[in-house]
């Protein structure tokens, strides 16, 4: 069946979304046109507004409409604690834990020489500048536990130590509610090597 060009364009455009194939794109298009024109208008407004306004925070590189994002400008947060993550989604995940009160730095990727991604491409020059210009006490490296993530963490750790900043790496290990039997060997090995003494034990 030949569809009108506008409909086709919309179907094609929707396919850029993750998890959306031709069939779901078609469903979405027809839904928007048939049943929810109001919603479609809101969507298109929100989309163009976000594209126009949202940029990167000059301090943490996360997405924001402001020059300095809400997190970076919040005086109640601990400005001496910096957590380095790979993606904006990681910030959201960490914020949900509500147990971190410091600031973030979003790399938007990790070091990957084969892909041609070097230190500048993930903003490490900007990060080093922050190491030098701000009173950071501790850097928490929360890059992903992949080989590239570890390499990135190592690279940043060296830089931070040169500026006499304490560096820590998030722990890797057994997920809550997980079962040891079904865990892969390397995770289990990490969990073992990164074991922590029980409270009270260490004081003996």
């Amino acid at each position: 069946m030949k569809l009108s060009p506008s409909i086709n364009d919309l179907i094609e455009a929707l396919r850029c979304l993750p998890g959306v194939g031709p069939k779901s794109a078609q469903r979405m298009t027809l839904h928007l046109l048939e049943r929810d024109r109001q919603g479609a208008e809101t969507l298109s407004g929100a989309l163009s507004q976000a594209l126009e306004r949202v940029g990167r925070c000059k301090s943490c590189r996360n997405f924001t409409e402001l020059e300095l994002c809400e997190l970076c400008s919040d005086p109640r947060r601990d400005h001496t604690l910096l957590c380095v993550v790979e993606a904006p989604g990681d910030v959201m995940a960490l914020e949900q834990t509500a147990s971190f009160r410091g600031l973030y730095f979003v790399l938007m990727g990790h070091l990957s020489p084969i892909d041609g991604i070097g230190p500048e491409d993930i903003g490490l020059d900007r990060l080093e500048e922050r190491f030098r210009s701000e009173a950071i006490r501790e850097v928490i490296l929360a890059t992903n536990p992949t080989v590239e993530g570890e390499a990135t963490a190592f690279y940043i750790a060296q830089r931070a130590q040169q500026e006499d900043i304490a560096v820590s790496r998030i722990a890797h290990g057994v997920p809550l509610g997980g079962e040891l039997e079904y865990l892969d060997a390397s995770t289990l090995a990490h969990a073992l090597s990164g074991r922590t003494p029980l409270p009270g034990e260490s004081s003996k």
Partner: protein
């Protein structure tokens, strides 16, 4: 060979589609292959492959498909992943980048495969400088550009007292071949250095510091011809990393071209 498990190393992985990976693998029998891992990032059935498909992890893989791009049909862990600490992981990336850039696909090279594993193992405990050199030499050999340390470009034996110039396309040119004054410093070696390198490679003799450096320059020169104008990113990364530790060696200022 299809559907039979073979030992393999992951060289490179990137996301493909919504839930898959596109991987470059060095297999014992199949050589370097590119394959799609369908649903590799999906968590649902039996856990995702993301944790297993990591560089420097011994794998067992089986691929299917007739085209150039294979499909990974089975994947198993063949051992614990090798933990390259600190800077040495960059050397590991260097090996992977060399292979992805230079090794042609579907060429079985069991010796190189074994040497790759050995070099990764060596990197766990040391800088493995000479292991890296051996690997580079073996790769050049596979590519048909191997270095002969005991004979010159005319197939005459290397003489200890003579000077030679290394030309990546021809080999070691003896002094009589050109005007010595016009020789660049790059690639210029003494016969006894070359003989020392031959002894190291074939008899396992030691190699002193200056000869190590010469050998490094030599393999670089040889690889440069293969790599063309695009420099290796992992080498750039390592340089950028080291530069901060030794500011005198700023690569940006006096070596804009990767040697």
């Amino acid at each position: 060979m299809a559907n039979e498990l073979e030992p393999a190393w992951l060289l490179h992985r990137r996301n493909y589609g919504d839930s898959g990976f596109l991987v470059d693998i060095l297999g014992l029998n199949s050589g370097r292959i590119s394959a799609v891992v369908k649903g590799g990032r999906r968590k649902a059935r039996g856990g995702s492959y993301a944790g297993v498909l990591q560089p420097f992890t011994p794998l067992l893989v089986a691929t299917s498909g007739r085209g150039e791009l294979k499909t990974l049909s089975r994947l198993e862990l063949a051992g614990a992943s090798i933990d390259l600490a600190g800077e040495r992981v960059f050397s590991g990336f260097y090996l992977n980048e060399l292979l992805v850039r230079l090794l042609p696909k579907f060429v079985s090279c069991p010796t190189l495969f074994a040497l790759y594993g050995g070099t990764i193992d060596a990197l766990v405990v040391t800088e493995a400088e000479l292991d890296l050199r051996k690997f580079e030499l073996m790769l050049l050999e596979e590519l048909g550009y191997g270095l002969r340390f005991d004979t010159d470009a005319n197939n005459d034996p290397i003489e200890a007292a003579s000077a030679y110039l290394y030309d990546p396309t021809a080999g070691f040119l003896p002094r009589a071949f050109g005007l010595e004054g016009a020789w660049k410093k790059e690639g210029r070696l003494q016969g006894d250095q070359l003989l020392n390198m031959a002894d190291w490679l074939f008899n396992g003799d030691g190699l002193d510091g200056s000869n190590r450096q010469s050998l490094k320059d030599l393999t670089r020169l040889a690889l440069q011809l293969q790599l063309g104008d695009r420099p290796l990113n992992s080498r750039k990364l390592l340089k950028a990393f080291r530069w901060r530790e030794e500011p005198s060696k700023n690569p940006v200022q006096h070596a804009p071209r990767d040697e």
